[in-house]
Symmetry: C2
Subunit: 236 residues, 2 copies
């Protein structure tokens, strides 16, 4: 099946978690909004009445007759189909649980620079971001990373749920990569305490399909429009 | 199957979405932390090594041999088993997509009183909360409620996905109920513009099992410890 991904063309954002899964799967897909007129098409579909399963926001995925919204939901769908999650229910639920915890972490990573809300520029919430950033570095980031470290310590393999890579591992790779970009100083300190998390990052980064993707121009560079944003003053 | 729910005993919080699904299903369950020594047991399980599928935070559910974490994941599991979601994949994914959008809405509802972070008291982030609360009332709440209103307008029945109630409808009931508690003045105004959302609330509230639950002491009253908190100054 050839998939169509609908996501903002200028950022990694939440769409990146889907892109990584599609790339690692080796399936064919079109990143629709990155093509000519694609963003307009994406917006029209969201504003119009054609989609029965209307998405609240990008990313959403066209998979045959299905239109699937919400990042974790898309990954749930793709995972079992393309070997990025176990096929059995217990395993699927466990990988999904991990993905939803990564989603919670992403909210906190984003809100470190946007505590007052998405409708305000960063420049209009700098003191608040400074305070939240401090708490993020000292408390929230270690709490989430510590959790994944514990999960990895219990795992029977190098990945979160064992010897086989899942979409949750791809997502954890992206989190580590993003933290390195957004909080370069803090990331050094955090990574020392969470070596197994870093190992997941490193193992995912060298998988042939992921590596080819990261080196291609399909990978949008990090920038100050996405979830992970580099503001030196938030890095302590 | 007799379920065991693990969640904080003094709040509705995210556990309430699971409680509502369990109650509407009519299945047997124990709200473990509300029993003697239950909170200690809940914490010990999270801190110990016994659980293979370690949860990051409550709620988590014991279902036979499975231990399932993350609210939306628990509901995904329960939904198809107890008639609160379609059994077919397309329908399950659609209900789950709606639930994940409700989860996103909940984060914003919570953060209206805690923009700087969960590690600070409300009293230590009042100016920030005031600003975020204003944006929440004027922009974010209408955006989310408007989305669910659109979904309901496209539905072939009174509920989000048609004629049958799903766990996403139960969750939408809880959101409306919570907004009435936390933002009583704003809720009046918001509800006028979203009559179909209110209809879901009203239909869920009178379902016999839900009503019996709401009238029982199993339903913990809203209070200033949960997601929905009433601070008059945040209600405009």
């Amino acid at each position: 099946m050839h998939y169509e991904l609908y996501y903002w063309p200028e950022i990694q954002g939440r769409g990146e978690f889907v892109r990584l899964a599609l790339e690692e799967s080796g399936v064919g897909y079109t990143d629709v909004a990155r093509g000519k007129g694609g963003t307009r098409k994406m917006m029209r579909l969201m504003q119009g009445n054609a989609l029965k399963t209307l998405p609240f926001a990008p990313p959403y995925l066209k998979a045959g007759k299905l239109w699937i919204g919400q990042t974790a939901n898309i990954l749930f769908y793709l995972g079992a189909r393309h070997g990025l999650a176990p096929k059995a229910e217990a395993g699927r639920l466990w990988v999904h649980q991990l993905q939803l915890t990564i989603a919670d972490f992403l909210v906190e990573i984003h809100d470190a620079h946007h505590p007052v809300g998405v409708n305000f520029y960063y420049e209009d919430q700098k003191p608040e971001a400074h305070r939240r950033g401090e708490d993020f570095r000292a408390s929230r980031a270690p709490k989430f990373l510590g959790y994944f470290e514990r999960v990895l310590n219990k795992s029977r393999g190098p990945f979160l749920t064992g010897r086989r890579v899942t979409y949750a591992d791809l997502s954890l790779f992206q989190v580590v990569d993003g933290l390195r970009y957004a909080f370069p100083k803090s990331a050094v300190r955090l990574e020392k305490k969470h070596p197994r998390v870093v190992e997941v990052h490193d193992r995912v980064a060298v998988r042939p399909r992921v590596r080819a993707y990261l080196e291609s121009d399909r990978r949008i560079p990090f920038n100050r429009l996405g979830i992970f944003r580099y503001y030196p003053e938030l890095d302590g």
